[in-house]
Protein backbone atom coordinates (compact mmCIF):
# COMPACT_ATOMS: atom_id res chain seq x y z
CA UNK A 1 0.00 0.00 0.00
CA UNK A 2 1.28 3.41 -0.88
CA UNK A 3 1.69 6.00 1.88
CA UNK A 4 -0.91 8.74 1.88
CA UNK A 5 0.86 11.26 4.11
CA UNK A 6 4.32 12.64 4.70
CA UNK A 7 4.35 10.88 8.10
CA UNK A 8 3.59 7.51 6.55
CA UNK A 9 6.22 8.13 3.92
CA UNK A 10 8.84 8.69 6.63
CA UNK A 11 7.82 5.40 8.24
CA UNK A 12 8.10 3.68 4.83
CA UNK A 13 11.58 5.14 4.55
CA UNK A 14 12.49 3.67 7.96
CA UNK A 15 11.20 0.29 6.78
CA UNK A 16 13.36 0.51 3.67
CA UNK A 17 16.40 1.34 5.77
CA UNK A 18 15.63 -1.56 8.11
CA UNK A 19 15.61 -3.90 5.12
CA UNK A 20 19.17 -2.89 4.34
CA UNK A 21 20.46 -4.31 7.63
CA UNK A 22 21.43 -7.96 7.23
CA UNK A 23 19.88 -10.34 9.80
CA UNK A 24 23.31 -11.51 10.89
CA UNK A 25 24.16 -7.95 11.97
CA UNK A 26 21.11 -7.53 14.17
CA UNK A 27 22.69 -8.10 17.57
CA UNK A 28 20.87 -5.22 19.26
CA UNK A 29 18.14 -2.79 18.14
CA UNK A 30 19.44 -0.16 15.74
CA UNK A 31 18.12 3.21 16.87
CA UNK A 32 17.55 5.99 14.38
CA UNK A 33 16.78 9.57 15.44
CA UNK A 34 14.72 11.68 13.08
CA UNK A 35 15.85 15.30 13.00
CA UNK A 36 15.42 18.30 10.69
CA UNK A 37 12.29 18.98 8.64
CA UNK A 38 10.82 15.51 9.16
CA UNK A 39 10.94 15.92 12.92
CA UNK A 40 9.43 19.41 12.72
CA UNK A 41 6.58 17.91 10.71
CA UNK A 42 5.83 15.45 13.51
CA UNK A 43 5.54 18.27 16.01
CA UNK A 44 3.62 20.93 14.09
CA UNK A 45 2.34 19.15 10.96
CA UNK A 46 3.92 21.67 8.62
CA UNK A 47 6.15 20.76 5.72
CA UNK A 48 9.55 22.37 5.84
CA UNK A 49 11.49 19.94 3.71
CA UNK A 50 11.13 16.90 1.48
CA UNK A 51 14.05 14.95 2.81
CA UNK A 52 14.73 12.76 5.80
CA UNK A 53 17.61 13.55 8.13
CA UNK A 54 18.53 10.68 10.42
CA UNK A 55 21.12 10.07 13.09
CA UNK A 56 21.92 6.39 13.44
CA UNK A 57 24.09 4.71 16.01
CA UNK A 58 25.62 2.34 13.51
CA UNK A 59 26.80 2.66 9.98
CA UNK A 60 24.10 1.31 7.66
CA UNK A 61 24.62 0.90 3.95
CA UNK A 62 21.84 2.94 2.38
CA UNK A 63 21.20 3.01 -1.40
CA UNK A 64 22.51 6.20 -2.98
CA UNK A 65 19.18 7.12 -4.55
CA UNK A 66 16.89 6.06 -1.72
CA UNK A 67 13.51 7.72 -1.90
CA UNK A 68 9.92 6.70 -1.24
CA UNK A 69 6.76 8.00 -2.87
CA UNK A 70 3.46 8.96 -1.32
CA UNK A 71 0.10 10.11 -2.60
CA UNK A 72 -1.09 13.55 -1.51
CA UNK A 73 -4.71 14.74 -1.14
CA UNK A 74 -4.77 15.93 -4.75
CA UNK A 75 -3.88 12.46 -6.05
CA UNK A 76 -0.38 13.51 -7.03
CA UNK A 77 2.71 11.50 -6.21
CA UNK A 78 5.33 13.16 -4.02
CA UNK A 79 8.81 11.97 -3.15
CA UNK A 80 10.67 11.85 0.14
CA UNK A 81 14.42 11.48 -0.23
CA UNK A 82 16.99 10.28 2.22
CA UNK A 83 19.54 13.02 2.85
CA UNK A 84 22.98 11.45 2.56
CA UNK A 85 24.70 14.76 3.18
CA UNK A 86 23.20 15.27 6.63
CA UNK A 87 25.32 14.78 9.71
CA UNK A 88 24.87 15.83 13.29
CA UNK A 89 28.17 17.70 13.52
CA UNK A 90 27.17 21.20 12.41
CA UNK A 91 23.58 21.68 13.59
CA UNK A 92 22.57 22.38 17.17
CA UNK A 93 21.32 19.34 19.03
CA UNK A 94 20.00 19.12 22.55
CA UNK A 95 22.56 17.43 24.77
CA UNK A 96 19.92 14.96 25.98
CA UNK A 97 18.35 14.32 22.60
CA UNK A 98 18.84 10.58 22.89
CA UNK A 99 16.98 10.40 26.22
CA UNK A 100 14.28 12.90 25.32
CA UNK A 101 13.49 11.56 21.86
CA UNK A 102 9.87 10.51 21.30
CA UNK A 103 9.41 6.93 20.15
CA UNK A 104 7.93 6.76 16.64
CA UNK A 105 8.00 3.17 15.52
CA UNK A 106 9.81 -0.10 16.05
CA UNK A 107 10.31 -1.99 12.84
CA UNK A 108 10.80 -5.75 13.03
CA UNK A 109 11.37 -7.84 9.98
Amino acid sequence: MIATSFKEAIIDMMAEIAKQIPDSHKQTPVKAYLTGGGAVHYYCNSRVSDDVDLIMQFSVKIPEDLFVVWLNDEGTLEQVHYDHTYNSTFGLLHEDYEDRAVHMITYRR
Partner: protein, 162 residues
Amino acid sequence: MNQQQMHKLLDVPERTLRDWKTGNRDKLYKLLETLDYDTAQRLLNMNNNSDLKKLLENEQYYASLRDFEKNLYEVLVSGRDSKVWLELSRDTSLSKEARTRAAYLYSFLSNKITQLSFKTKVNVGLYHGNMNDTGNGLARLYGLKNGLDMARFNQFKMTGRF
Protein backbone atom coordinates in the same frame (compact mmCIF):
# COMPACT_ATOMS: atom_id res chain seq x y z
CA MET B 1 9.65 21.22 -46.69
CA ASN B 2 9.51 21.52 -50.40
CA GLN B 3 6.83 19.90 -52.52
CA GLN B 4 8.93 16.83 -53.28
CA GLN B 5 9.53 16.21 -49.57
CA MET B 6 5.81 16.65 -48.84
CA HIS B 7 5.04 14.09 -51.51
CA LYS B 8 7.61 11.68 -50.10
CA LEU B 9 6.50 12.07 -46.50
CA LEU B 10 2.73 12.17 -46.96
CA ASP B 11 2.33 10.18 -50.16
CA VAL B 12 0.13 12.90 -51.64
CA PRO B 13 0.39 13.38 -55.44
CA GLU B 14 2.29 16.52 -56.45
CA ARG B 15 -0.66 17.69 -58.51
CA THR B 16 -2.87 17.60 -55.40
CA LEU B 17 -0.21 19.51 -53.49
CA ARG B 18 -0.21 22.19 -56.20
CA ASP B 19 -4.00 22.39 -55.85
CA TRP B 20 -3.62 22.83 -52.10
CA LYS B 21 -1.12 25.63 -52.67
CA THR B 22 -3.40 27.65 -54.88
CA GLY B 23 -6.81 26.49 -53.65
CA ASN B 24 -8.65 26.79 -50.35
CA ARG B 25 -6.16 24.54 -48.55
CA ASP B 26 -3.37 27.07 -48.87
CA LYS B 27 -3.02 27.36 -45.07
CA LEU B 28 -2.40 23.63 -44.81
CA TYR B 29 0.19 23.93 -47.57
CA LYS B 30 1.84 26.88 -45.77
CA LEU B 31 1.94 24.86 -42.57
CA LEU B 32 3.67 21.98 -44.34
CA GLU B 33 6.04 24.38 -46.04
CA THR B 34 7.01 25.87 -42.69
CA LEU B 35 7.83 22.50 -41.18
CA ASP B 36 11.29 21.08 -41.48
CA TYR B 37 11.29 17.60 -43.10
CA ASP B 38 12.98 15.87 -40.14
CA THR B 39 10.72 17.62 -37.63
CA ALA B 40 7.64 16.64 -39.62
CA GLN B 41 8.82 13.05 -39.75
CA ARG B 42 9.42 13.06 -35.98
CA LEU B 43 5.98 14.53 -35.34
CA LEU B 44 4.41 11.86 -37.52
CA ASN B 45 6.24 9.15 -35.63
CA MET B 46 4.79 10.49 -32.39
CA ASN B 47 1.41 9.36 -33.60
CA ASN B 48 2.71 5.85 -33.85
CA ASN B 49 3.61 4.04 -30.64
CA SER B 50 5.92 1.48 -32.18
CA ASP B 51 9.04 3.32 -30.98
CA LEU B 52 7.66 3.37 -27.43
CA LYS B 53 6.81 -0.33 -27.57
CA LYS B 54 10.36 -0.99 -28.65
CA LEU B 55 11.65 0.82 -25.55
CA LEU B 56 9.25 -1.02 -23.28
CA GLU B 57 10.02 -4.45 -24.72
CA ASN B 58 13.72 -3.60 -24.60
CA GLU B 59 14.79 -7.25 -24.06
CA GLN B 60 14.10 -7.84 -27.74
CA TYR B 61 15.70 -4.75 -29.26
CA TYR B 62 18.61 -3.44 -27.18
CA ALA B 63 21.95 -4.98 -26.41
CA SER B 64 23.44 -1.97 -24.65
CA LEU B 65 22.17 0.28 -21.87
CA ARG B 66 23.66 3.31 -23.59
CA ASP B 67 21.65 2.80 -26.79
CA PHE B 68 18.49 2.23 -24.77
CA GLU B 69 19.01 5.35 -22.64
CA LYS B 70 19.80 7.47 -25.67
CA ASN B 71 16.49 6.59 -27.29
CA LEU B 72 14.49 6.71 -24.08
CA TYR B 73 15.75 10.12 -22.98
CA GLU B 74 15.00 11.58 -26.40
CA VAL B 75 11.41 10.35 -26.14
CA LEU B 76 11.01 11.62 -22.58
CA VAL B 77 12.06 15.16 -23.48
CA SER B 78 10.19 15.24 -26.81
CA GLY B 79 7.05 16.77 -25.31
CA ARG B 80 4.93 13.76 -26.16
CA ASP B 81 1.74 13.46 -24.09
CA SER B 82 2.41 11.32 -21.01
CA LYS B 83 -1.02 9.67 -21.40
CA VAL B 84 0.46 7.54 -24.14
CA TRP B 85 2.39 5.63 -21.46
CA LEU B 86 -0.84 5.13 -19.53
CA GLU B 87 -2.47 3.62 -22.62
CA LEU B 88 0.52 1.34 -23.10
CA SER B 89 0.35 0.19 -19.48
CA ARG B 90 -3.16 -1.07 -20.29
CA ASP B 91 -2.26 -2.59 -23.64
CA THR B 92 -2.71 -6.34 -23.20
CA SER B 93 -0.79 -7.08 -26.39
CA LEU B 94 2.37 -6.08 -24.49
CA SER B 95 4.22 -8.24 -21.98
CA LYS B 96 3.71 -7.63 -18.25
CA GLU B 97 7.28 -6.34 -18.01
CA ALA B 98 6.59 -3.77 -20.73
CA ARG B 99 3.30 -2.71 -19.15
CA THR B 100 5.00 -2.27 -15.79
CA ARG B 101 7.69 -0.12 -17.39
CA ALA B 102 4.99 1.95 -19.11
CA ALA B 103 3.21 2.52 -15.77
CA TYR B 104 6.48 3.60 -14.17
CA LEU B 105 7.24 6.05 -16.99
CA TYR B 106 3.69 7.43 -16.84
CA SER B 107 4.08 8.15 -13.12
CA PHE B 108 7.58 9.50 -13.64
CA LEU B 109 6.35 12.05 -16.18
CA SER B 110 2.97 12.93 -14.72
CA ASN B 111 3.39 12.34 -10.95
CA LYS B 112 0.14 10.40 -11.10
CA ILE B 113 -0.41 6.83 -10.03
CA THR B 114 -2.00 4.07 -12.07
CA GLN B 115 -3.19 0.59 -11.22
CA LEU B 116 -1.91 -2.33 -13.24
CA SER B 117 -4.49 -5.02 -14.01
CA PHE B 118 -2.19 -7.80 -12.77
CA LYS B 119 -0.53 -8.44 -9.45
CA THR B 120 2.38 -10.59 -10.57
CA LYS B 121 5.65 -8.95 -9.58
CA VAL B 122 7.91 -8.55 -12.55
CA ASN B 123 11.50 -9.29 -11.74
CA VAL B 124 13.13 -6.89 -14.17
CA GLY B 125 14.75 -3.49 -14.32
CA LEU B 126 13.73 -0.60 -16.54
CA TYR B 127 16.45 -1.86 -18.86
CA HIS B 128 16.60 -5.64 -19.07
CA GLY B 129 20.37 -5.80 -18.59
CA ASN B 130 20.28 -3.84 -15.34
CA MET B 131 19.17 -6.13 -12.54
CA ASN B 132 20.53 -4.03 -9.66
CA ASP B 133 18.09 -3.25 -6.86
CA THR B 134 18.12 0.45 -6.11
CA GLY B 135 16.40 2.77 -3.66
CA ASN B 136 14.07 4.13 -6.35
CA GLY B 137 10.69 4.22 -4.58
CA LEU B 138 8.73 4.90 -7.75
CA ALA B 139 10.17 1.87 -9.52
CA ARG B 140 9.49 -0.27 -6.45
CA LEU B 141 5.90 0.96 -6.42
CA TYR B 142 5.36 -1.00 -9.62
CA GLY B 143 7.67 -3.87 -8.73
CA LEU B 144 10.57 -2.86 -10.95
CA LYS B 145 14.10 -3.38 -9.66
CA ASN B 146 15.28 0.05 -10.77
CA GLY B 147 14.24 3.12 -12.70
CA LEU B 148 15.82 6.01 -14.51
CA ASP B 149 19.33 7.06 -13.61
CA MET B 150 18.50 10.66 -12.70
CA ALA B 151 22.09 11.88 -12.87
CA ARG B 152 22.42 10.71 -16.46
CA PHE B 153 18.94 11.89 -17.41
CA ASN B 154 19.56 15.36 -15.98
CA GLN B 155 22.85 15.53 -17.84
CA PHE B 156 21.02 14.63 -21.05
CA LYS B 157 18.39 17.31 -20.41
CA MET B 158 21.04 19.94 -19.82
CA THR B 159 23.51 19.06 -22.56
CA GLY B 160 21.70 16.78 -25.01
CA ARG B 161 24.18 13.99 -24.35
CA PHE B 162 25.58 11.95 -21.48
